[in-house]
Symmetry: C2
Subunit: 124 residues, 2 copies
DNA sequence: TCGTGTATGTGCACCATACACTTAGCCCGC
DNA sequence: GCGGGCTAAGTGTATGGTGCACATACACGA
């Protein structure tokens, strides 16, 4: 309870949520790990660690959902730039559908919870 | 893609989703594991295995969120009947709040995804 | 007595996640 | 020129939830 010290969710985001997040961001535009790391925060992943993002990108690369190219940078070290493949785009659509199902289930939970709270109030 | 053979979500439900589910069901009424096992399916957990449910109930018992009593059954073996504690009720409220946050994040994702799809259509 | 349904559990391996740590290039100030 | 800070990309490892298989036991009917 009270959940001080950082505000971590007692329940986490959906399993593998990072994958659809990265696919969505890459569908919006080619990017590299370090930049994606900052952008995923806006999708509900607060301050997720670099290792997680880099490993996920690697795995999707091996799965053929994205492909990467080393690109030099004028302002720092070289970047591994990622772009979405056609298969990755298909996966994005599929994962977005799955997330919609999760969202629906969560909506059902909320309705049921609110009904319970209302019953408790009237019974009080 | 295509996801034959059972229809498992490519992305799963939130981590620890079973806990708020069981707490909600127990808030609606005292019950036992085998019955809860069937009821959680309605909350979005399709055919979750018994072991998971029993282990979760045990863990919550040790955490003091529920307490259990052995009750004989006329139609079969004895049941371990669970009831919600005050602390369990507090946790239910907290977890429901967390799930609401998750739900909000997922809503944001969906909006962003749909915007992308629309852009793709107009650009086609 | 053997199978079926109810009811509760354990064993184990896998995998995502969390957290800590490392490497390396570039630039700026001292 | 040298140290520190920022950018950028990783690796190592422990933990913990989950999936799947398996074990146990009671009741009841064929």
């Amino acid at each position: 309870m009270s959940d001080e010290s950082g505000g971590e969710f007692p329940v986490g985001m959906p399993r593998n949520y990072l994958r659809p997040c990265l696919l969505l961001l890459l569908a919006e535009g080619t990017s590299h790990g370090y930049e994606l790391l900052e952008q995923v925060a806006a999708l509900g992943l607060g301050r997720s660690d670099p290792g997680r993002v880099y490993r996920c990108l690697r795995a999707m690369d091996e799965d053929g959902l994205v492909h990467s190219v080393w690109t030099p940078s004028a302002t720092g070290p070289a970047r591994r730039t990622y772009a979405l493949t056609d298969e990755g785009r298909d996966w994005l659509d599929a994962l977005a559908g799955s997330l919609a199902e999760v969202s629906r289930a969560l909506g059902g939970y909320q309705r049921r919870y609110k009904r319970l709270v209302k019953q408790d109030e009237t019974a009080r």
